[in-house]
């Protein structure tokens, strides 16, 4: 009896000692080392055709839709700069959230092997049941009893073992190729997006290279309530880090409010990097809390010269001629019978509405902002051309010779269930649950509809015309 009690006590102590695996410190800050856009080679991937793809949240539904789009990009043949190639090989950046982070991370780690491995490793697996079994295993209760070890830590261990095979960012850096894959979580304290790139980990004086991809994916998909936030150590002030020049300039603009968004980005950086560190631990929750599309980072890159992979800077340097942004959005619109009765909606219904509606509205505005921002790029050069042409028509003495900024052709592409033409089919997809477990047939339908929606998008069709491109039908050829 005494032995049994001692054994139980020992187990409880072990459980109480369970803690999250710490992200390692960075010995010395080096602005050229680690996982950065500028460090990735791109011998067969031109800057002139610059392709950004975003994968939204939405569990396995989002992962399967994103995977279907990746398959379609692989099968899209284009002509660019005298070469016939796959559009997938021209993808420069992938930005992802939650469920979309699994195919994104897998592609970063394994490249085209994703097409042989990912469906069985993730899409067709009952991940949710597996996670539930783990949470119900008594030995894990002890681990979960520890104050600094949560269900997402358990999930991260599972993803590391079963999905990513122990892969870390060091493996992604070793591949050294575009696309630059950015998994996004949400910093619970600032509410800001937290991208898993070295530029962000520099602020924490931490080395992203030694972080497993599984932890990044787990943080990105730590669905509030079902999964716990993940904790990261902050070693700010210990590695000789210096903020880029724009941060002090933007922070000093606070009072003038000349660009509140840029100032807010600077202030988040200052908060994370405050020495001491002022915030010794950073708690990350699902990326969908800050932005369920994964589009805010790319928007900042497109609209600012002060971003670690600024697209605006590349355009100013005449490097980009065509900019393609493909937004893959697995948002649903579940049918409700709420309005069929006079009954007061219940607490769960009210709370889920309160949580979901702002996210959907924000996503709508984010896509709208993307379209407006991209339109600005096209309109400014058109305005200069028009002024020059109209003034010249008045006679040589009136002709203006205004300089235009570098012209870019723009293609904002959207893959979303709302664009499915058939009402019945649209309703079916828009009523799919958010879960890490879907029937195989559902996954296959999601893969197919991703391809179909991409092929039908008007901007994608424009792009295909411009690039003499062709998206082969599934199993066929162009």
């Amino acid at each position: 009896m005494r032995r049994a009690l001692l054994a139980l006590l020992a187990l409880l102590l072990v459980g109480a000692c369970a803690s999250f695996p710490e992200n390692p410190p960075l010995a010395h800050y080096d602005k050229n080392a680690g996982y950065r856009f500028a460090s990735l080679a791109h011998p067969d991937n031109s800057d002139s055709l610059f392709v950004i793809v975003t994968f939204s949240g939405g569990g396995t539904r989002a992962a399967a839709l994103a995977y279907g789009v990746l398959e379609a990009l692989r099968d899209t043949r284009i002509e660019w700069q005298g070469r016939r190639e796959s559009l997938l090989d021209e993808v420069d950046v992938i930005s992802s959230i939650s469920g979309g982070s699994f195919p994104a991370a897998y592609y970063a780690l394994r490249g085209r092997k994703i097409f042989d491995e990912f469906p069985e490793r993730f899409l067709y697996r009952p991940i949710q049941s597996d996670l539930l079994k783990l949470a119900l295993t008594p030995t894990n209760w002890l681990r979960l009893a520890g104050p600094s070890y949560g269900r997402s830590d358990l999930a991260a261990d599972f993803y590391d073992r079963e999905v990513f095979g122990g892969g870390t960012y060091a493996d992604v850096i070793a591949r050294g190729r575009r696309p630059f894959v950015v998994l996004n979580a949400t910093d619970m304290t600032s509410g800001a997006q937290f991208p898993f790139i070295q530029d962000e980990f520099d602020l924490l004086c931490s080395d992203l290279a030694k972080v497993p991809l599984a932890r990044a994916a787990a943080a990105s998909s730590a669905f509030p309530g079902g999964l716990t936030p993940l904790t990261f150590r902050n070693y700010a002030g210990s590695c000789g880090y210096e903020q880029p020049a724009w941060v002090a300039l933007a922070a000093a603009d606070h009072a003038s409010r000349v660009n509140a968004r840029r100032t807010a980005r600077a202030e988040v950086r200052l908060s994370l990097a405050a020495p001491g560190p002022a915030r010794p631990y950073i708690h990350l929750t699902d990326g969908g809390v800050a932005d369920n599309l994964g589009l805010r980072g790319p928007l900042d890159a497109i609209a600012s010269v002060d971003h670690s992979w600024s697209v605006m800077r590349l355009i100013n340097r005449d490097r980009i001629d065509k900019l393609v942004v493909i937004v893959v959005n697995a948002a649903t619109s579940p049918k409700s019978d709420r309005d069929e009765t006079a009954s007061v909606p219940g607490l769960i219904d009210t709370l889920s509405t309160a949580a979901g509606v702002p996210i959907d509205n924000y996503s709508f505005d984010t896509v709208d902002l993307l379209k407006k921002t991209m339109k600005e790029y096209g309109e400014d050069t058109k305005l200069v051309e028009t002024c020059n042409r109209l003034s010249a028509a008045k006679g040589a003495q009136c002709a203006l010779k205004l300089d235009a900024p570098h012209a870019v052709d723009l293609y904002p592409v959207q893959v979303a269930f709302q664009y499915i033409a058939s009402r019945e089919e649209r309703r079916w997809f828009q009523n799919l649950p958010t879960s890490f477990e879907l029937p195989r047939e559902t996954v296959d339908r999601l893969r197919a509809v991703g391809r179909q929606l991409l092929a039908e998008d008007p901007q994608y069709r424009n792009l295909m015309r411009a690039l003499h491109g062709c998206l082969a039908p599934a199993g066929g050829s162009c």
Partner: protein, 73 residues
């Protein structure tokens, strides 16, 4: 979106906030706010850098930020 034109007698690389950001004598897009402009390569220009708040510009009237050769009067 804001617009600037960094002028200098010859074509030079422009640094915006210490990063390569375009070329002189062309219209460059920037986001609103205070930026630090400088030129690359040979340090034969003056001033060494210019801190300017960019706001309310238009592509037809970009904000002009002038740099000169050091030896010019």
């Amino acid at each position: 979106m804001e617009y600037v034109k960094i002028t200098f007698p010859t074509r030079r690389l422009v640094y915006i906030d210490d990063e390569e950001g375009g070329y002189t004598n062309t219209v460059l897009r920037v986001d609103a706010g205070t930026h630090l402009f400088s030129l690359g390569n040979v340090a034969n220009f003056r001033p060494a850098s210019r801190k300017v708040t960019v706001a309310d510009t238009s592509v037809l009237e970009p904000l002009e930020v002038k740099f000169f050769r050091k030896d010019d009067a």
